[in-house]
């Protein structure tokens, strides 16, 4: 029956051979490679936020739920550079007001995150930190097995830039797996 199989393959080439190549190229962007499919051992996770970060979506919660037993560190970073700039231009009072508002926002934000993470059965701790948004994460990343970060961390992005430049920098500098959402 080999001749029938040859007819089928000839028909396939006539009907769809070149179209299939085009479609397959488009799919290569979504299919993970074998290397990407190896799940690294994750014992500690760093989850970073700032005022531009979105709430953690359901898909990321599901991903995190797979690492039962891991410890999760939730950090909200306030840009020290911005505080310094406000202090130098508008004065100490304005800087203090900005700090208080950002702290209040951070506390509310982290509380909401905490409520959601409570369902995951993962040990976690939280912190509000001041520093350079990129350098702080790069420095901390060494101690963790996985970094989870919003695409918009560090700066608001436009439609043409779906990932913020600060996230780009972090991803290029850290040698740990990063989940972008």
């Amino acid at each position: 029956m080999g001749w029938l199989h040859d007819i089928i393959l000839r028909k396939f080439n006539n009907i769809a051979g070149t179209r299939y190549e085009e479609i397959l190229k488009a799919y290569q962007n979504f299919f993970l490679t074998e290397e990407e499919l190896v799940i690294p051992e994750i014992n500690s996770i760093l989850l970073v936020f700032d005022r531009f970060s979105e709430k953690v979506p359901e898909e990321v919660h599901e991903t995190l739920s797979a690492f039962e037993g891991a410890t999760l560190r939730v950090v909200y970073v306030i840009d020290e550079g911005v505080l310094k700039m406000i202090r130098e231009t508008l004065g100490e009072e304005a800087a203090e007001e900005f700090r208080k508002k950002d702290m209040a926002f951070a506390k509310t934000f982290l509380k909401e995150v905490e409520e959601k993470l409570g369902d995951l059965n993962i040990k976690f701790s939280r912190k509000i930190a001041f520093g350079d948004k990129a350098e702080y994460v790069e420095g901390l990343a060494r101690k963790y097995d996985l970094i989870v970060i919003s695409r918009h961390y560090g700066s608001e992005t436009t439609r043409t830039h779906r990932v913020s430049p600060i996230v780009f920098r972090i991803v290029q500098h850290v040698d740990k797996p990063v989940v972008l959402y």
């Binding site: 029956m1 007819i7 028909k11 396939f12 006539n14 299939y20 799919y27 962007n29 993970l32 797979a66």
Partner: protein
């Protein structure tokens, strides 16, 4: 038999043989045959417009433009990823969801495009689930052929039948839709029963499989978000247009061409690029076939077969049974497009002796579902087997035949029973 009739018959059989052997491209075979009957003047040049079914050709062309422009936006990859994620890595859900989505998409778009776009995703998922991909691929093929049966635009034979018999989109939905629905779930049931032992993924890997599938982001598939939205709007508009074409008094081809024009105008897509992707080979294949079949009409060969059939078939019930089963077994062996092109003038000729209305549904049923019978019965079968072969999964002619024949006989029997109950009664 007159010499011209013999020559026309010889050309017709020769072209059929070439199409079946696939030694040369089916379009070339049809064009050579059409050129011969025109050169010999079996079909006079002035009669060509009468035989060229422009409704069919323009409807196909219009839908090809709409689908190809929409494809550029990533719409179909989006649907494939979304379907994969909905299944959450459960083999049973993959079987069910991919079959239903394939059937629904195939009801409105051509079957080849549908399976070309969904098969790579299906193969990827089954590989990750570490299950035998064959039942999933077979179910996809059968679902595509069954889905195509449901509407006027779902499968080329239906387009040809609709144009020849002046049947509306809604008539197809009402007559063939329920048959397709019952057949689809019967098919999924048969596949499940035949392969249930092979559909279990390893429990310990379930979480990893689910994570792999959920890690895909369907939004990444959208290459042009503006075109994506416009394509959805136009596709929905075209489908709504098909539902109302008979009330509006316009042909389905006009709806498709209007949709294509609106999408080109609105998206500012390059017409050269969009028209480059129109499958001109398919359109010329249709054109050639219409002229070759025209030669059989011109020489009286079709009328003779019709007279013979009328002499031996005593009522509509018998005609329904003969046409549906003969069409099914024939379409399992030969391409259903030339087969339908040949049967249309035959049924038209029978119109002087009996009500042919139910016979069109019997033809649609047999021609569309007959394709499930063998691996070479329909283009979608060949495409899925070809893709599987390239990805290292071998589906042999016999593998396909065993399941395909069971599916074909079951689905045609269900369809024939429904048509019989509706038009002949108990």
């Amino acid at each position: 038999m007159e010499p011209m009739e013999l020559i026309a018959l010889a050309i017709f059989i020769g072209v059929y043989g070439l199409i079946m052997s696939e030694r040369i491209h089916r379009t070339v075979a049809a064009m050579v045959g059409a050129s011969l009957v025109l050169l010999i003047k079996i079909v006079p040049w002035e009669r060509v417009p009468e035989y060229l079914d422009l409704d069919t050709i323009l409807l196909l062309a219009g839908m090809m433009v709409v689908v190809n422009v929409a494809r550029e936006s990533g719409l179909f990859e989006y649907i494939a990823i979304k379907t994969a994620k909905l299944s959450k890595g459960s083999p049973m859900k993959v079987l069910l969801l991919f079959s239903v989505v394939t059937a629904v998409v195939s009801a409105f778009l051509d079957n080849v495009t549908t399976v070309l776009l969904l098969t790579p995703m299906l193969l990827y998922i089954t590989k990750k689930m570490n299950v035998n991909p064959i039942p999933f691929l077979l179910s996809e093929v059968f679902a595509s052929n069954i889905g195509g049966t449901a509407t006027l635009i779902g499968d080329p034979p239906n387009i040809m039948i609709g144009s020849a018999a002046n049947l509306s989109f809604n008539e197809f939905i009402l007559n063939m839709g329920p048959i397709a629905l019952v057949d689809l779930f019967a098919t999924i049931g048969i596949i499940y029963l035949a392969y249930r032992a092979e559909m279990n993924s390893h429990k310990e890997n379930e979480e990893g499989i689910r994570m792999t599938i959920m890690s895909m982001d369907e939004r990444d598939a959208i290459r042009d978000s503006s075109l994506f939205r416009k394509s959805i709007v136009v596709l929905i508009g075209v489908v709504i247009g098909f539902f109302f074409h008979d009330k509006l008094g316009v042909e389905p081809a006009v709806i498709a061409l209007t949709g294509a024009s609106i999408l080109l105008l609105w998206s500012r897509a390059s017409p050269e690029h969009a028209l480059e992707k129109v499958e001109w080979a398919t359109l010329f294949f249709f054109g050639g076939l219409f002229i070759i079949v025209g030669s059989l009409v011109e020489t009286g060969a079709i009328a003779q077969v019709a007279n013979w059939m009328v002499g031996h078939v005593h009522n509509e019930g018998e005609a329904i049974l003969i046409i549906s089963w003969f069409s099914a077994f024939s379409s399992a062996i030969v391409d259903n497009i030339p087969f339908t092109a040949t049967m249309i003038p035959l049924i038209k000729a029978m119109g002087s002796h009996m009500n042919t209305y139910p016979l069109w549904w019997a033809l649609s049923l047999g021609a569309c579902l007959g394709g499930n019978g063998t691996a070479i019965g329909a283009s979608a079968n060949v495409v899925v087997i070809g893709i599987a072969h390239r990805e290292g999964v071998r589906i042999t002619f016999n593998d396909f035949l065993k399941v395909g024949m069971t599916i074909m006989i079951t689905t045609v029997a269900i369809g024939t029973a429904i048509i019989w109950l509706r038009y002949v009664g108990l």
